[in-house]
Subunit: 341 residues, 4 copies
């Protein structure tokens, strides 16, 4: 068989581990041939390929990013996108595709599957918000990076009697904030799933100072105050007298400073959360996903996504994976709340 | 309620996170009081206690080891051991015990439960070989430390065209070797569950050199060659004139050097695998175990052990946890074998 | 003797290592007594003390921040500040002070020395911009944290064909940017000492893309474009249509995006650079500074600052240390420039 | 010019950073051509080369080991070794050599220089024992790895009331032990330069236990007891029946256990100290060495070694570098001794 591989969406530690496992087992056990598609769905759309064999995947296991490149190109939003993909796959003699990506990339895979393209999906999202799998790779790495930052900030908070706010990734799901906050011993964790009450946050901050310790808050980029109108106070003047918006972390720092009289500083971790070498958890998960995905291709079990359930790698219909977002359940957040303050 | 807490067996990153969660929720949510028992079962046996409250658990989340100390004392092997424990618990007014430990510590807990002591168990083993839970905390930290060592050794192996052998923990179960080996891209992984064929190992080493790359082998301390007689050459005299085993890593290095003519070096990771700050995975798991354990105490749901199943914390009868060792299944090892060589 | 110890200014990994060495040698070798002053010069000013002995310094070597707390209080800007300090020192029976801090803290120490207070200074600045010492502790830790962030961002830049800009600390001196940029293999390094030509920066970015690699830029927070007027273009509209200012990293990202058509993203490392456990270099340097500082106190060699020259710890007059800022010399920047692009 | 580059001796983090800087500046600034020699002096001896240009050095800055390979081949111990090297250099049109290595490699360079070969030396030793340079790259990385291991072992020592002994590299010089021990807060540091008194070591161990803390000892592999006869008990038989040394760490553990009755465990860090990604200090130092070395070649300033003095890169005659070993001075060891116990 001749198999195409592509990676789409934001990069994520573990992508290379999947590619390596797919190719190593595909060549070594099944004798398959591989074609690397560049930059997500842009690759098959425009026929952009690169060689992909045992030589190309050597030494990539510990490396972040993706050797294939990535993009957010969606062929369904491009004229004749699907036709061009089918044509390119035919011209290149591709029998099946392994598509590694998140909601968008797998959404395209799901539709292509229904249009007769042989596709296997491998879930990828740093945010851990894909349904039908217990965890996605990249998430554990992001949480560890955020936790290390929190560990570092504790001593600064204590030394300066300051509030420190760490803004982490998570536009719609608070998994990174929840896990990094629990792991880092944050005094407050704010997630998109539960609009927060600013007064309560301020209470936690003040109660923490009363014990002579300084608070650390972890906040998802997508967290919002319960009272939407409060966002109007979110504006402030910049050095030149202009008003600006600064992200929820910065906004919170300003509000807390104003209400408590304590210095508050925000740190936005940003892209440092998604690059670089994966943790062991992510390398093992990504490798096992890759091994199972190439088995699925070999067995002709298409239209499926590989997934983690407990300690097993299983396959679920692609359509299940993207039907709804996996957000933090109420009881998981409540569990963490008892440690606040 | 007045609750005793103890940690037994080898230390393990995450013990302090459990203690902290138990005490924080116990005091904050339920209003319980706590007594810390020193050094595992030795504490209740000899009435050795230390204060344990919110102040004592501050700042311990990121710290390895256990603030309570540990030991391998088994009260059932000591005259009137059980009676002395019961007496001390009565004298101290202890209503229930939270026992954090591995097979031995939980084995004692199981028997004490059957003798009327209120006990909740929290599983702990760096080796991940406790039944009834998907993972134990400490394991992820150990695997990451081993993986980082393997990452470092790859470049030395390449630069010197040498075989490097990393001996990791795992006397009866090969989980650390399997996961660290997969994560580190080892060329051969040897585990106790499957006695190895030395000739095959040598073949893998030689095939790796033929591709101009240098091999890394990961071996559990409990791995053994299939041909038991070979172990006779494995003996050596120690400083006191007694016969002892030099360790399987060292033995393998000697055998491979002899058979391939290539330099081979063993590194024994030893205690560096079990100390120090826990990973995020272990801190979150240990914290969730602690929160659930104190709920169990509060609900009077004794004789249980908390456990991870998928992403849920559940409770299982203590007796299930220690009935049999959780070893690496044949198919998990086979899965990794396709990446050898 | 009875000796006061204080830490002033921004926190910095290694402060606790100095305190520990001062106290350990002071008590163990010389039999001195110690008083900890809280929060920099605020402590002696307001008579805020905490116990400081061998027990208090146990286990603090690897911890970031300062167990004494810090502040930016300047007694010379407060009515009767100096008199109050002298009075408090007399009341507490303090014979000498060890003042650990940067330009401001040591500036106060210099003046107090001239007014008859026995002071020894220990230099501290994450920015490495104190004259008369080859290095200050904290700098090596900051550079390593920044380098690790750059290492992580390389893979994201490559995978997305994006420009990534890392903004590091350094308002007046570019040492962190220079060393982190060299260590991380940045394609452009911008420092406050040399106003940059935006056109040249854009050229480097484009030449890097021509080789099919993605550029990483490291920029000190204090870097400025050579053409000052360009800063007016630094304004942009926020989500609500308002204009704001964003820091040099964000500004650069906008300019590069506009001029090259490539996506550019800025990451501001902020406080993560100054907290947490120190590197070995910083722990050794801070420990040696502390040991020498207590020797100076014992010898009555006041009005001095300990300093690193080559591999030796020496003492220099306090006044020398703060006379001028140590900035990056032209030739050191030129040395690094040959690696740009 | 056409320049050969080689790396000899044990591998060391930073070798690739030197190679990259030499090639990047050589090609970019001076227009030189390069030839990579494989495996140290074996390369020019046997004419083993590999391509070396800007493409080959891309992305190698953060990687440990050496892309050129290494060996301990000494052409002066091989028949006609020097003649063969000269012949190969002539055939390949090599105008000058950059030799990166330690005592042995630079010793060969020194002799070849005196025989008319154009050589520039770059010092490399993990042990930091090369004269004429303040530091060598690789040392800082080794010290940090050892320190992290010590950090991890502290919690295990405390939890189990055990003595932990960390054996680090350093056959003739105790620099790694001294710096890692200082940085890790070791209770005893033993180095080759000062034969130790076992009774005193036991005293330190016991005094540490009296304060209820558990001791960590750091010992260079080359440390020896003052009473040489004690070493006879140090012998043991290896797998082949030959007498060998079990290592000083293991021997110490046995002695301490026997004399104090406390459990003692040794951890031998071994090769993990010399592989993997370099620290920022080592990457900057190695890069600056490389930049200066290629300047030296360009200027025809042969027979020199680049060196660090204070914060400057200077050049010293090759012969000076290898004349004597740089060991730990008595006063540096005494400085650290006040922190023992």
């Amino acid at each position: 068989m001749r198999i195409g591989v592509l990676t789409g969406g934001g990069d994520c530690p573990g992508l290379n581990a999947v590619i390596r496992a797919v190719v190593r087992k595909g060549v070594g056990t099944y004798g398959h041939e591989f074609v690397g598609f560049k930059d997500g769905w842009k690759g098959p759309l425009e026929g952009l390929t690169k060689p992909l064999g045992v030589e190309q995947v050597r030494g990539i296991l510990p490396r972040g990013g993706t050797i294939l490149g990535s993009s957010r190109t969606n062929p369904f939003k491009i004229d004749n996108g699907v036709e061009r993909i089918k044509e390119n796959l035919a011209n290149l003699g591709i029998d099946a595709l392994v598509a590694i990506g998140g909601e968008d990339t797998l959404g395209v895979a799901t539709k292509l599957d229904s249009l007769g393209v042989n596709v296997i999906g491998v879930p990828k999202t740093i945010d851990n918000d894909l349904n039908a799998t217990d965890f996605t790779f990249g998430f554990d790495t992001a949480v560890n990076i955020a936790m290390e930052a929190i560990d570092r900030l504790h001593t600064t908070a204590e030394s300066h009697h300051r509030v420190l706010i760490v803004e982490v990734m998570g536009r719609h799901a608070g998994w990174i904030a929840l896990h990094a906050g629990l792991a880092g011993g944050a005094n407050v964790i704010l997630i998109p799933e539960k609009p927060f009450d600013l007064e309560k946050v301020v209470d936690h901050v003040e109660s923490r100072f009363r014990t002579n310790y300084s608070p650390i808050l972890v906040v998802s980029e997508g967290a919002v105050p319960a009272d939407g109108d409060m966002m109007t106070s979110h504006n402030e003047l910049d050095a030149f007298g202009h008003v600006r918006l600064g992200g929820i972390g910065t906004w919170l720092a300003e509000q807390i400073e104003k209400r408590t009289g304590k210095e508050a500083r925000a740190v936005v971790l940003g892209h440092t959360q998604r690059g670089g070498t994966p943790t062991a958890f992510d390398r093992v998960l990504a490798t096992r996903f890759g091994l199972n995905a190439i088995d699925a291709v070999h067995e002709g079990d298409f239209g499926k996504m590989v997934a983690l359930q407990g300690t097993d790698i299983v396959r679920v219909p692609l359509i299940e994976a993207t039907r709804e977002l996996k957000t933090v359940p109420v009881e998981r957040y409540a569990e963490s709340e008892v440690l606040f303050g």
